[in-house]
Every structure is written in structure tokens, then in C-alpha cells.
Amino acid sequence: MPAMLVLGIESSCDETGVALYASGDGQLLAHALHSQVAMHQAYGGVVPELASRDHIRRAVPLLRQVLAESGRALADVDAVAYTQGPGLAGALLVGAAFAEALATSLGVPTLPVHHLEGHLLSPLLSKTPPRFPFVALLVSGGHTQLMRVTGVGHYELLGETLDDAAGEAFDKTAKLLGLGYPGGPALAQLAEQGRPDAFKLPRPMLNSGDLDFSFSGLKTAVLVQVRALTQDGATLDDRQRADIARAFQDAIVEVLVKKALRAVKESRLQQLVVAGGVGANRELRRQLDMRAARQKISVFYPELEFCTDNGAMIALAGALRLQAGASASPAKAAGAFAVRPRWPLADLTP
């Protein structure tokens, strides 16, 4: 199959991403990102309507940037991939409308992509990519899932969180400690200064025998500790906050590591792919690398810049689907579109 130039557009939440990927030699030609995190910070969380209003202002400038950096013309684009879901309905709609109109006008097909498929394929963008089949641990603000990935579009759910996502647990705990929004990265930083075992926190479902997770109890356990320490009007000192952050991170990392490696073993595979924002966590990477090495399992991470939402992973997922041709759902004719704010990955057809 000749090389195909695929434009990718991501707008599912609070990041607008645009990228240009060439299949064939499998090369990311350019990618550009605008994060709205600073804008939403004042509101203490993502405001969906403001997210939509920002996406529509970013799509064209980011596309211009990507075309300029890649030195390619819009007329060379063979297909336009965009995030169809899951995500915020209004935000998704902006990317979809722009992508479908662009493709309609250029006379090329579109590739509506599942956001999580983008995440779990994102390690394929690195210099030393994994090869199918592998197990993927998807840990983001909205998801915590283990999946067996045998090819593009072939994803089997092995286990998932029954309540909060790992990133959500990081963010909520960070809020409890007064670390602002989104507090995950700040909490991880604080944990680096904490002492191990200064506080005891549960390891929810560590020995449940399945591959599911539960993190809401962990957040509650932190709340109980914080209440006990601040009972008589006292405020937490820096050391206590660092120790709690450390205890929280150790607990969540231990559960994620143990279950992810068990999933690889039970699937009789040798490769683990870690994707999603929490995959940027250094302690998680440290523990995974150490324990996986002992079990002769290789762990693959996306480049740091592709851990969070981005257009590159959407362009990649679109290109891989295009390449797979008849064995993956083919590109559709540009025109009518519908976004899918709630869209279980298990519903994804090859």
C-alpha cells in the first residue's frame, strides 16, 4: 500500500491537538497542541461550554502550524481522522464539524477515531515501539482499564475500575491536600519528598483475584487521615502532606503494577503498554520497570508529550485503520457526522 498522509484532530476534552502522520514509512511529520488547562484552572475544573468555545478558536491556527512545520500542502492529505468519542459532546462536535467539512471539501474520506484507541496505540509513535500482541494499561483522568490488544481494532477488556479512574483519584486526593486543579502531577511531585510508610493506606482489590480496580475507597481513606490530623483545628504541615501524598501514591502504584503484570502473565504475553496521563507518573514507571524486568516483561510508554491528549495519536490510529483496510472498519465518506460522548471501547468494532 502506498504511503498515505493522514491528518488527525483531537478535541475531546481540554486539549486541541492537530497532527500529520505519513503511513508507509510510519512517520509523524508534525504535531501541534493547545492546552486549556490554564483557562479552566480558575474554575476548579473543566467547564464544558468554555472548552467548546476554545476548541473552535484553535483548530485553524494549529492546522496551519502543522502544515507549515511538515512542509506539506493540505491538498496532499489522503484522509482526515478525528476523535469521535468518548468525551465532552460539545467539544467533540467542534473537531468533528471542522474535520468533516475539511474532508468533504478536499474530497477525501474521514476516520472517526475512538479516543482510547488513540491512547493505547500511542506507544507505537516511539522509536522503539511494541509489536502486536500486547497488554495495555490505560490510566487517565477518565479511565483505568487493562486490555489485550492483538491488532488494530482488536481489543479485549481484561479489567477496569469499578468507580474512580486512577487520574481522578490523584486529582481528588490532590484537592483534599489543597494542591489545586488538576492536582495529579503536583501530588506526584509532593510524594517524592514524603517518607514511605509514614501513613498506612489500603490497597483496594489487590488480591481480588480479578483484574478490576477500585480507587474511591483510597480517596476516602485519605480523607479520614486528613480529618483525624486536623480534628482540633490544626492544619497539615508540609511534612504531613508529603507523607500522605507518598502513602497515596505508593498504594495506587502498587495496585496498578501488580494487576498490570498479572494481566500480562495471564495473557501469556511479554509486552505491556502503558498509556494515558497517569502513565507519566515517575514512581509508576520506576516500579513497573523494576518488577517487569524480573519477570522478563518489556514495558513500553508513549513519549511524554503523547501521554496526555494529543492529535498525533489520533492521526496514528486513523492511519493504522486505513492501512489495515478491510480488516479494520474502513474510512467513511466525509459528510454526515455524529459524536459519541459515551462510547465503551469494548463496543469498538475491528
Binding site: 474554575y43 468554555l50 473552535i56 483548530a59 460539545g90 467542534v94 467539512a101 474532508a103
Partner: protein
């Protein structure tokens, strides 16, 4: 002089439509009702262009109803217009939704009241003469019983805000001579408004083409919530 082929998109309300303006002749096509604009808009544009024997590269301009109106509807129109315009570097022209309604309503002084939901109306006042519309003030969003009243009489009032809120009609009654409560935004009016501007060489960069929401306060910051005694 080459022919002018102007495409106009209007999806500010559920009653969406597109229009093709060809040297003064207007072809108007309504989006099918009961289906979301995302499903129908681009297919309708494609078939209408095909019917006229035109391709996307043949368009000399693209206009869209920029608002106010349904937030989602405005973004569908704007996103689609941006995409179509960027693909072939076609001049892009945002058009005020209420302004186009004023043109459609006829001549003279026109008050346009579009239902803004949540117990409010978008209200604008315009002076309309042949194909020119002059805004007599900024478009605002108000509770129907508190819209600013025109100083004089002899107005024509239009828009579904009149049908939605009897209190609005009551309030405006002394100033209004004629009522058109059924009048809704349509793409042919947007096209008629945009055509002379296109002919004058007006266009906006697609990166700067954004909806005009009018309702701009959509959430409270943490600081605002705390100031009101709420939670962070």
C-alpha cells in the same frame, strides 16, 4: 466578471437551512427537521452544489449565521464553514443572525427577538433599507419583561421570542406597528446580507471566525463561588 457563487449556512436554531446565491438568484434548502444538523448539513450542501453543477473550489464565498442562537448550532455552522473555507482558501463571512432576520423581515426599523431559552431573549434593533442593514445598538440578552424599550414608535417586531414570551409582546406593544413572530433565521437572508460584502472584498480569516454567543457568562470561577459563600 466571473460569476459569484456564495454558499450560506444557517443553523442558529433547530430550523437550519443552507442557501446558494448565484449572481442574485438564491437557491434555499431546509435541513430535514427532527435530525441533528451534524447529520444533515454537509450532505445537503454537497447535493445542493451538485444540483447547481458546482464543486467546492467553485465557491467564491462562504457565509454563516454567527449568532446569537443555540451554542451547539452556532459551532456546527462555524466549524463547518471554517473547514470548507480553509480547504480552498475561500473567503469567509460571518453574518449576524438577528441582522439577517431583520433583512428578511422587510424594510424600516426592525426589532428582532430570538428565544434565548432559560427565560431570556436575544434582542437587536436594526434599520433596514434595500440590501443594507444598520445595527442601531449592540445585540443583548434580556429577561422578556426587562428588554430596553425603543424611544419612538413605528417598529416592526419579528422572531420567535415574541411567540415564546407574551410579556415581551406586552412590553413592546406601544412601540410596535407590525408583528412577525413566526420569522426565523434562514440561510437565504444570510446570503443576501453577505453577497454585497463579498463583492466589496470583505472576508475574515477562518482562524478569526468565531460564533457570537452574546450570552458570555457561562460559569463561575472558584473565586466568585467563594465570594458568594459557596464551595471551591
Amino acid at each position: 466578471m466571473p460569476a459569484i457563487n456564495l454558499l450560506a449556512i444557517e443553523t442558529s436554531t433547530d430550523a437550519g437551512s443552507i442557501a446558494l446565491w448565484r449572481d442574485g438568484e438564491v437557491l434555499l434548502r431546509d435541513c430535514p427537521r427532527g435530525v441533528s444538523h451534524s447529520e444533515t448539513l454537509l450532505p445537503l450542501i454537497r447535493s445542493t452544489l451538485a444540483e447547481a453543477g458546482l464543486g467546492f473550489a467553485d465557491l467564491s464565498g462562504i457565509a454563516f449565521g454567527a449568532g446569537p442562537g443555540s451554542f451547539t448550532g452556532l459551532r456546527v455552522a462555524c466549524g463547518v464553514a471554517q473547514g470548507l473555507a480553509f480547504a480552498h482558501d475561500t473567503p469567509l463571512l460571518p453574518v449576524g443572525t438577528l441582522e439577517a432576520m431583520a433583512l428578511a423581515a422587510g424594510g424600516g426599523r426592525v426589532l428582532v427577538a430570538l428565544d434565548a431559552r432559560m427565560g431570556e431573549v436575544y434582542l437587536g434593533s436594526f434599520e433596514v433599507s434595500s440590501d443594507a442593514v444598520v445595527a442601531l445598538g449592540p445585540v443583548g440578552v434580556h429577561p422578556p419583561g426587562a428588554v430596553p424599550l425603543p424611544a419612538s414608535g413605528g417598529w416592526l417586531a419579528c422572531g420567535n421570542g415574541l411567540a415564546a414570551y407574551p410579556a415581551l409582546r406586552e412590553r413592546l406593544a406601544p412601540a410596535v406597528d407590525a408583528w412577525l413572530p413566526e420569522l426565523m433565521p434562514t440561510a437565504d437572508a444570510a446570503a443576501r446580507l453577505a453577497a454585497p460584502r463579498l463583492a466589496r472584498g470583505e472576508r475574515v480569516d477562518p482562524a478569526d471566525a468565531v460564533p457570537v454567543y452574546v450570552r458570555d457568562k457561562v460559569a463561575q470561577t472558584v473565586a466568585e463561588r467563594l465570594a458568594q459563600g459557596g464551595k471551591a
